[in-house]
Symmetry: C2
């Protein structure tokens, strides 16, 4: 079995790049140290190897089925769900008071990445429960917290986020699920339906707890009238549990991501369905954004994990498969060479490595910002929060879009074999394709970045990011390494381009708002490439330091690989901003003026 | 059912762009006229609508299975195969003497495109038989022609191309299937195995005729020792037919393209397997290139057809699905707008339209060159042959690579629905992915273009292409349309870039051959974009003429769409050459110098 991730790279990120041990100087994390972090990763690796990865293919082939009103998932999920609960993975980052381990989000995310790379579908179940429980503990009443969260932490109850409706996919202001007050305060009658609910129903748990958006009758129109409810499949009564009028209308059959059940649910269609208000009325969307933002970074991580698994699968193949001969030594009487020696194959491997390792370091950096936002105060807290907020669309969309391409490169390296079900890369290719869609399509994130985040808080998030990048450039310039000086100069040029393009677009915003946002998706792409180039410069700086300090051949190879991949990213990926900048500053109106009848 | 292709666009290509009726001035095509061409397309449309498209989804879900030594395909294929034979589709372009209709390849390809867009898998069966029969009639003995081709034309016997082996995928010089002479002249004993053989075995025909590459024992090493054989599954005897020692070892299970059976075959492993030499010994690869070149243009057409079907599926959805509101009118009390009005959705539709219609016009142009090469002499013939030869890697690879992206855009337009099996776009996405792999991977075609075709015949092919493009630019410049003048100027700039980049690379070839070819795939991409931009300038010129001559609203919409899409291609796609040119002229050695241990 080829490995599906690199623990060495996770260690590089946590300890060399992010220096995550420094978090232990804060009270909340004081009981941890590098050893405890290592143990977390080792434990994750063990579960991934023993429980998750062995079911990867099988869960793809035996998809969930709706039978007698319940979705039946792969039987292996029962043991996996139990294990995630028992070992404390669901609430690991929460406080000791809540039964958690006060683990940094950065480390938890690194562990989750291992699960995701092993078996993306299986990794989704606990992740959703964590997010849902986190919403209840953040905004719910003491009673809701006590009733729901312990059973969710234990893995016995599944959490979900129930947002999307048939007539309101990307447009949440149009949801029509209704909540009608009952005589009991905080308790509402829910009617409506939700679609595309991940883990919305299944038989590997005892109950499902939906964190559901609905409109309280008589509330304001649009997003301002949305409230958040806890809607369990079985509601708690004095005598135990009773059905709560949540009906599973269907399970979706999908191109990939088949091991996780995606449900179509009806609320209150047959029996009464009760929902329990979380926090105040009409503030539901604000609350939900906590879970959505976590989920968005999570989706970026999912995409990166799938891309990483595909990279290692194609690398293993390239190192084993003889085919063809060197360009300069074509003698057919000589044995064939391994394909890993062909420049075009190395290009496809470097492409994958540069994207997935570049994305991973950004995503773990996002985890660190989440931790810092939690334990710091004042400007440090604000900086961490605004950087995380600004870069969430990038952290979600860059890996989501690019890992469709990297998994495609993995398929290409295997050739005809890659297109067959004899190898896992075709599954990775299918699974990767969900990520540009769920948790906000790439188009939505483009609008979020260009239309909102750039100028939010007076543009302070962008200002902080520019400072961070300039600090990295300054650090590179202090070295005497010609390669680092070269990369620093190129990133500096790219930053000037970001400035030019952004100014050009923000000026346009005043004249023509539709045209300003028409290419927001391409702006997101542009901005994402520069962000990942920054991550690669950070990695290259650290790798050069590593090279000077190590004598081990394994470490030398690792660091040389980092430097070479940073160069690759600048040579092949960063150059793409030239064309994007041309497009983004030309302001032609082709898409805006296109008429439906002309298609 | 949304339509899956545009007959209007086929007519535009055949009659307005290519003026294919002019072929009827040549003797070979003299019995045809526009009316007979129209009838061919109408007949194809009828079969596509009634027989092929209805089985699209079902053939994906009920994949071929190997049972009792034979691959069982969807039962509907029997009627389809029969119909293709009876209606003369397999040998339509061949001479009257051969039972054909002397139909221009251009028109035949347009009809095949309709079949492919309706149901790619089903369209493959007759296409392979045509190619195999064409090899026999071109290079085989009179006896072989008489014995095999009539039953192939009738659809009763399936033809294949049997090249790939377990240890020789892209590297044909390494095939090891052996041919040992028997006492009978031209008859050889075949032993070996072949993998990935499309339609290599199935139960919707009476016999399978493999056009197989093997090495005659004692022949030269490498590609110079390859010979071509007819190897039937059942060989012809005095009393009828007998098994010929061809065993089906397996059928591949694949990500898509599931309706066509891809076989792993053993020759001569149990019983004697006889092969009949086609043409002279050791010339097999040269012969096979006739079928491979046809198949390569065919693969480009397949990719384009799938991309076209996905485009129309996503267009139909975009015109029906209300979601969200205009950027400048967000009032949630107002009804939602159709997503076709969102600039980002229009961008994704224009992207698809620009790629698939740009590729289609190049592919039909290739068909016309094939026809002209057939019926003309002297320089006209040479021009047609060299242009077709030069652009075959582009015609194969540009649509193959890009339709992975366009079908992805189709999925994205449908959002979550696009990821489910409730809509056909996820199938199109899976089916598109085979094309960058089979009939030579994109990497192989990059090497073919940059390392061979550019400089072949003293660079005459490239010279002819430049003349053609410059003629188009000159025609645009003669108009008084500012849009055409603008596009012409931009294409002129792009041509200068092709010149600069090509010169830079060819100079490098003298110093460092490995580095010269290291980014050949990117050069192919670069060259392909400029080629398609040329096709779009041709289309825009013709559309502007059309706009001046028509009063019908439908025609106006059609031509406006063409002009808008040409602009889109130049604004969003042609700009990509800036970044590619930067990469292709920098000559850094990152991929060449990358070491396997650094990954």
């Amino acid at each position: 079995m080829p490995s599906f991730f690199s623990k060495r790279d996770l260690h590089f990120n946590l300890y060399e790049l992010l220096k995550v041990e420094q978090l232990t100087s804060y009270d909340y994390f004081q009981d941890h140290d590098r050893q405890s972090f290592d143990m977390v990763l080792d434990a994750a690796e063990q579960i991934a190897n023993k429980m998750l990865h062995p079911l990867l293919t099988e869960m793809d082939r035996k998809e969930p089925q709706l039978m007698d009103g319940t979705i039946r998932v792969h039987e292996g999920m029962k043991a996996i769900t139990k294990r995630f609960g028992e070992d404390g993975w669901i609430n690991a980052t929460f406080s000791y008071d809540e039964g958690g381990q006060q683990l940094p989000v950065t480390v938890q995310n690194a562990a989750a990445f291992i699960f995701q790379a092993a078996n993306y579908s299986a990794s989704v179940y606990p992740f959703l429960t964590t997010g849902a429980a986190n919403l209840i503990r953040s905004f719910g009443s003491k009673e809701l917290i006590e009733q729901y969260t312990p059973l969710m932490y234990s893995g016995r109850w599944q959490g979900t986020m129930a947002l999307t409706e048939p007539n309101a996919g990307s447009s949440l202001s149009d949801i029509s699920t209704a909540a009608e007050p009952t005589s009991e305060e905080g308790v509402y009658k829910i009617t409506g339906q939700k679609i595309f609910i991940s883990c919305g129903d299944h038989d590997a748990c005892e109950n499902i707890v939906h964190l559901l958006l609905a409109k309280i009758k008589g509330g304001p129109a649009g997003t301002k009238g949305i409230s958040l409810f806890v809607v369990p499949k079985k509601r708690i009564t004095e005598n135990g549990h009773t059905n709560n009028g949540v009906t599973t209308a269907g399970v979706y059959h999908k191109m990939g991501y088949k091991g996780a059940p995606i449900a179509h649910l009806m609320f209150g269609s047959d029996e009464t369905c009760l929902g329990y208000l979380v926090g105040e009325p009409h503030k539901g969307l604000t609350y939900m954004f906590q879970m959505m933002n976590e989920a968005r970074v999570g989706v970026g991580m999912n995409a990166t994990a799938i891309g990483t698994a595909a990279y290692y699968a194609s690398l293993a193949y390239a190192k084993e498969r003889p085919q063809g001969r060197p360009i300069t030594a074509k003698d057919p009487t000589q044995p064939q060479t391994l394909i890993v020696h062909h420049a075009d194959v190395k290009r496809m491997l470097l492409f994958q490595k540069s994207v997935v390792e570049g994305a991973l370091s950004l995503l773990l950096q996002c985890g660190l910002w989440a931790d810092l936002a939690h334990v710091t105060e004042g400007e440090a807290k604000e900086r961490a929060e605004l950087l995380l907020d600004l870069l969430t669309p990038v952290a979600k969309s860059y890996p989501s879009e690019m890992c469709c391409q990297t998994t495609s490169a993995a398929v290409q390296i295997l050739g005809g074999a890659g297109y067959t079900t004899d190898f896992p890369v075709e599954q990775y290719y299918r699974e990767a394709r969900i990520h540009p869609i769920h948790e906000g399509t790439t188009g939505i994130h483009g609008l979020d970045l260009l239309g909102r985040k750039l100028t939010l808080h007076g543009g302070k998030g962008l200002q902080y990011l520019m400072e961070e990048i300039k600090n990295t450039i300054a650090e590179a310039k202090q070295s005497d390494q010609p390669q680092l000086l070269d990369l620093a100069a190129r990133l500096e040029g790219a930053l000037e381009r970001v400035q030019t393009v952004t100014t050009s677009l923000l000026n346009l915003a005043k004249q023509d708002k539709e045209l300003f946002l028409a290419d927001a998706t391409l702006y997101l792409d542009f901005f994402g490439i520069v962000t990942i180039a920054w991550q690669w410069l950070k990695q290259a700086i650290q790798a050069q330091k590593g090279l000077m300090m190590t004598n081990s051949e394994e470490n030398r190879n690792f660091y040389q690989g980092k430097v070479a991949t940073a160069n690759y990213f600048f040579d092949y990926e960063l150059v793409k901003i030239s064309s994007l900048a041309l497009r983004l500053t030309s302001h032609t109106k082709g898409t805006v003026e296109m008429q439906p009848d002309w298609f």
